[in-house]
Every structure is written in structure tokens, then in C-alpha cells.
């Protein structure tokens, strides 16, 4: 079991020294899943034999040679189900590999296992999965965060060395914070989305969950880069993300946005984050308070833009080319309406309706166009802040993991779980969540995440800042 919870960096050392084989590593991960996943519920499915066959052929000289990586159920892996944790994609088998999967394979990694998520990545607790509940590895009564809750939980529970997730409004960083692992959202355009089932195309980004910042740099190295099949991926050279990882933060200016310390946040979360900020001061960074004045509008802005885009993206689920179809439709209109009515869960329906409404004639200018303008203001807040500082430090989530069922009755409360993560998606910048201690909540020790944000395409700097804390904290 120990092997399954090791870091990529350590596993690579063992593999290259010949102390373990890739097949042994896949076996260890599989054994850990068998033992732990009945309690966690992070995996939807896995193809053990296939992973084992790939491991037998793995080239351990490659950057991720022989490393199994779990994949969120929204990314296509050829020959495997890709259900987006939705009933509407029951029976769907991916006919191709997403670009990130091709890139992982080229780096020697082995896609192993499909992880649970909120249906179509819509949610902050993974409770919107139409398939199963995922439990927080620290406390089975609590949610793992979302929407990439399965990907976070399997890494935190040592059922995977690393996983891929997606982040549209915080869906990598928030579950990483709540489960206690590292979660990286690259800048918009850094990683190809070809083969990712789209939720909100101007916001979605794929990124890794890992045990360490060092590992996050390795996975990003493998998946980053331009892809002719995703015209939003930028044709910018991929730098070496590991080269300056240990260069420290001495002389850097790090900003603390005052709007990210709000009334109502958990005092223990605030205390842990303030302590982490002091660690940075101790490491020689200059800490300055900054302001991102439009922060309070980010959640409202996001729920217009993201739902509008989702309502268009989800039009493709019509029961014709793939997925589940309603039985015995009366006519074509009935076929569409019942297929979608029976196939989509509640949150997806809420968002399709809201998104359709904000785009509809007469309301487009009042909602959608206005939201796009507010998005400009939010982006400018960051541009302004990054003229003064090298990076920003904040909590990832205002609260530790909440209890299963606690926020399901009130969608707005659930939306507010992403209050600190959404703005980075709207601005397109890169951000990471790293563990920074725990709260003592109802007798349980729950992880707290520190969010670090850096300018557009400055992942090298982001990872360096993150690594500085991690090594100071003795990880």
C-alpha cells in the first residue's frame, strides 16, 4: 500500500533503479484501490488488465515512464467509458484519446482508472454525480469537494500517485484543498482541451492532482503545449517547470488580497493561511496587502458566463449520436425533451435553464454582455495587482470540507463554495492549491488549502512559490 501513496518523483527513482517494476507499481495501486476505495468511492471504473499490459511495455526512461495516473471521467481515454458521471452518457465508450492522454502516454504514463465527479463538472462537492457519492478520505461524513472530487480523493487516500482533473471555477483547487493534496490549474490556453467534454469553454482547463509541487511540475511538463486540435491552446514554448523549482522566494513580492479574507470564513482556515503567509515572510518574501476590488462580483459573473456556455455546449447531448435515448418517443421534439429530461440531473438542468435564460432575446445585454464586461474588470484587477507583486496568496476555500447533504438544498450556498477560486478562471491566470495545515472541526482534523495565483503563463514562478512553502513546511 505504501507504494501506491508514494510520489511520482520517488516512484521514478525506484523504477529507474530497477527496485520495482511498472507492473508491481500498477499492482500496488490496484491493491490500494481494492482496500480503500469501498470507503472512499473515488473511482467509477478501472481496467486493471489493460493497465497491467501497458505497464509490462512501459519505458521507464521516459519522464513519466511506468507511472499510473487516474483520469477524471470527463476526459476521453480511447476504449474506456467517459460518462461525465451522468446518466445521459450511459454506455458511451470513448473512440479516441484526448490530447492530454496522448501526451501522457508519450511521456510513458499509464492512464489508470476513471474518477468520480459532479455531473458534467457542475458542482463543488461531487454530490451531483449521478453514479455514486465520494467521501472525504479524512472524514467519511464529509464531501471531498468538487467537481473533481474523485481525482482529489484518490490521491489524498493514497489510491493514486497522481490524477488529472478539470477546473472551470475551482474544480481542481477546491477539492485539493478539502482533501489535502496539491491541485494545479494551469493558465487558460496552456493545456489542450481536445477530448475534454466541454462545460464552459472560455474557462475550462485541465490540470494535475499530486502529492507534491515537484510532481505537479512533472505532470504539467507532460501535458502542456500547443495543440492544433484546440485553437485556444497557445503556441508558446513550454519552459522547464522543474529547473527553478527550488530557487526560493527571497526578494519576491507576494500580495495578500484583502477581499479574500471575508466575514463568515472559518477562523481556523484564516489562521492557517495567515501562518503560511508568515512562512513566506520568513523565507525572505516581502508581503504586501493588495486589493482586487471586483472580487465580490466574481461568483455572480461566473454563474452567467459558465451557465451560458454550458447551455450551448450541452446541446450536443440529444440522444442521437451517443448516450442514452428515451424509449418510444412520440416524435423528434419528444425524443429530445425526454432524452434530456431523463438523462440530466438536477444541477445540470438548473444550469442549462439559467444559461439559456441569460442568453435569450431581451436579456442578453442585461445579463450576458454585462457579465462579459464585468469579466474585463476582474481581469484588470489582476493585471493591476501583478504590476505590484509577483504572486498572490489567499485561502483556496473559505471553509474546510462540509458535511454530505449540508448544502444540497440551497444551490447558491454551493456556488459560494468557489468564492476564492472563480476569479482566476475568469482572468485566465494560473493558480495552485497546496496543503497548509489543518483545522480541528468536530473532533476531526480537516485539511486547509493555501491558494497561490500568478500571472498568465507564469507557471514556472507559480510552482517555485508553491515549492518554497512546501519545502519550508517539510514536505
Amino acid at each position: 500500500m505504501e507504494l501506491a501513496g508514494t510520489t511520482i518523483t520517488k516512484a521514478r527513482r525506484l523504477l529507474q533503479a530497477g527496485e520495482i517494476s511498472p507492473v508491481q507499481l500498477v499492482d500496488a495501486v490496484n491493491a490500494s484501490i481494492e482496500q480503500t476505495d469501498p470507503k472512499v468511492g473515488g473511482y467509477l471504473s478501472r481496467d486493471y488488465e489493460r493497465a497491467r499490459a501497458l505497464a509490462a511495455e512501459a519505458d521507464t526512461s521516459l519522464p513519466l515512464g511506468g507511472i499510473p495516473i487516474a483520469i477524471k471521467d470527463v476526459i476521453n481515454v480511447q476504449g474506456e467509458p467517459c460518462r461525465c458521471a451522468s446518466k445521459i452518457l450511459t454506455g458511451y465508450t470513448a473512440p479516441y484519446d484526448a490530447t492530454v492522454i496522448k501526451k501522457l502516454r508519450a511521456a510513458g504514463a499509464i492512464p489508470f482508472g476513471r474518477t468520480n465527479m459532479d455531473e458534467f463538472a457542475m458542482g463543488s462537492s461531487t454530490e451531483n454525480s449521478a453514479i455514486q457519492i465520494t467521501r472525504n478520505p479524512r472524514d467519511p461524513e464529509r464531501i471531498p469537494g468538487g467537481s473533481s472530487g474523485g481525482s482529489a480523493a484518490v490521491v489524498a487516500a493514497n489510491e493514486a500517485l497522481a490524477s488529472l482533473g478539470t477546473d472551470t471555477g475551482g474544480s481542481i483547487r477546491q477539492p485539493a484543498a478539502l482533501c489535502g493534496c496539491v491541485g494545479l490549474k494551469p493558465s487558460y490556453g496552456r493545456v489542450s482541451r481536445y477530448g475534454l467534454v466541454a462545460f464552459a469553454s472560455s474557462l475550462d482547463q485541465i490540470g494535475p492532482f499530486t502529492h507534491t509541487v515537484e510532481d505537479a511540475a512533472l505532470v504539467l511538463q507532460a501535458i502542456a503545449g500547443h495543440d492544433p486540435l484546440d485553437s485556444t491552446s497557445l503556441d508558446v514554448p513550454v519552459p522547464d517547470y522543474s529547473a527553478t523549482l527550488n530557487d526560493g522566494v527571497k526578494g519576491m513580492k507576494l500580495g495578500v488580497p484583502k477581499e479574500y479574507f471575508v466575514e463568515g470564513m472559518d477562523p481556523q482556515v484564516e489562521a492557517r493561511v495567515r501562518e503560511a503567509i508568515e512562512v513566506y515572510r520568513g523565507l525572505g518574501a516581502e508581503i504586501v496587502e493588495v486589493s482586487l476590488p471586483h472580487t465580490k462580483y466574481a461568483v455572480a459573473d461566473y454563474y452567467i458566463i459558465a451557465t451560458a456556455e454550458a447551455s450551448a455546449n450541452l446541446a450536443r447531448f440529444d440522444g442521437v449520436r451517443y448516450g442514452k435515448r428515451a424509449e418510444a418517443p412520440r416524435d423528434l421534439a419528444d425524443h429530445y425533451a425526454r432524452t434530456r429530461g431523463e438523462g440530466f440531473g438536477k444541477e445540470v438542468k438548473r444550469r442549462i435553464i439559467l444559461g439559456t435564460y441569460v442568453l435569450s432575446s431581451g436579456y442578453y445585454d442585461a445579463f450576458y454582455l454585462r457579465a462579459q464586461k464585468v469579466r474585463t474588470l476582474i481581469r484588470r484587477d489582476f493585471e493591476e495587482a501583478f504590476r505590484k507583486v509577483d504572486g498572490l496568496l489567499s485561502p483556496t476555500s473559505p471553509v474546510p470540507a462540509f458535511k454530505i447533504g449540508e448544502r444540497m438544498a440551497d444551490p447558491l450556498q454551493m456556488y459560494l463554495a468557489d468564492i476564492f477560486t472563480i476569479a482566476a478562471n475568469l482572468a485566465g491566470i494560473c493558480a495552485i492549491s497546496i496543503p497548509c495545515g489543518e483545522t480541528e472541526t468536530d473532533g476531526k482534523k480537516l485539511p486547509v488549502g493555501l491558494q497561490i495565483m500568478a500571472p498568465f503563463f507564469e507557471e514556472v514562478r507559480l510552482l517555485r512559490i508553491a515549492r518554497a512553502y512546501e519545502s519550508a513546511a517539510g514536505c
Binding site: S187, Y188, D318, K324, G341, K346, L377, Y415
Partner: protein, 96 residues
């Protein structure tokens, strides 16, 4: 413009989403609540502000129009719930 009102039944029909009466009864107040929260954007002065459609400054992206490998017909219809003669099958659309 009239005061915004989101009629769940009407919008669901526009977007081809069949909802039960119970679902409508649940979604209507929830969406009213979310909508009233969203309306706080009206406080923001956006005069003269350009909209942001997406975060990177990429507009038109061109590529050479060369053929590349794609699915076979068989692969393309492999996931279809109903197919026949190499085609997707749907309910009858045109009368006559």
C-alpha cells in the same frame, strides 16, 4: 425592458428539456434566488468597458486545410443508441 423573470417551464421548453411538475416547483424558487443574487452585477459601472469573451488574446486561428485521419463510419456510429445501414436513426421528422 421588463423586469427580469425566469419562467422555468417556458425556458425548459425552449431548450428541449422535459421537466416534471415537481421539478418545476423545486427549480423555480431556486433559480429565482440565484437570479436575484446575480442581479448584483447591475451595481457595477460598465460604461465604456470592452467585453471579455475569453482570457487569452487569440482571435482568428487558421490552419492549412489538409486531410487527416478521422473515424471510420463504423467508429462514428459505434456509440449511437439506434443505428442502421451505417446511419444514425432518429424518429421521423418530415411527414408524407
Amino acid at each position: 425592458m421588463s423586469a427580469p423573470h425566469l419562467d422555468v417551464r417556458y425556458v425548459a421548453d425552449l431548450v428541449r428539456l422535459k421537466l416534471t411538475d415537481d421539478e418545476i416547483a423545486e427549480l423555480q424558487p431556486q433559480l429565482d434566488h440565484v437570479l436575484s443574487y446575480i442581479e448584483q452585477l447591475n451595481e457595477v459601472n460598465v460604461d465604456g468597458i470592452e467585453p471579455t469573451a475569453h482570457a487569452s488574446a487569440v482571435y482568428n486561428v487558421f490552419r492549412a486545410d489538409n486531410p487527416r485521419d478521422t473515424f471510420t463510419q463504423e467508429q462514428a456510429i459505434a456509440n449511437a443508441p439506434h443505428s442502421g445501414s451505417g446511419l444514425f436513426l432518429v424518429p421521423k421528422v418530415v411527414e408524407g
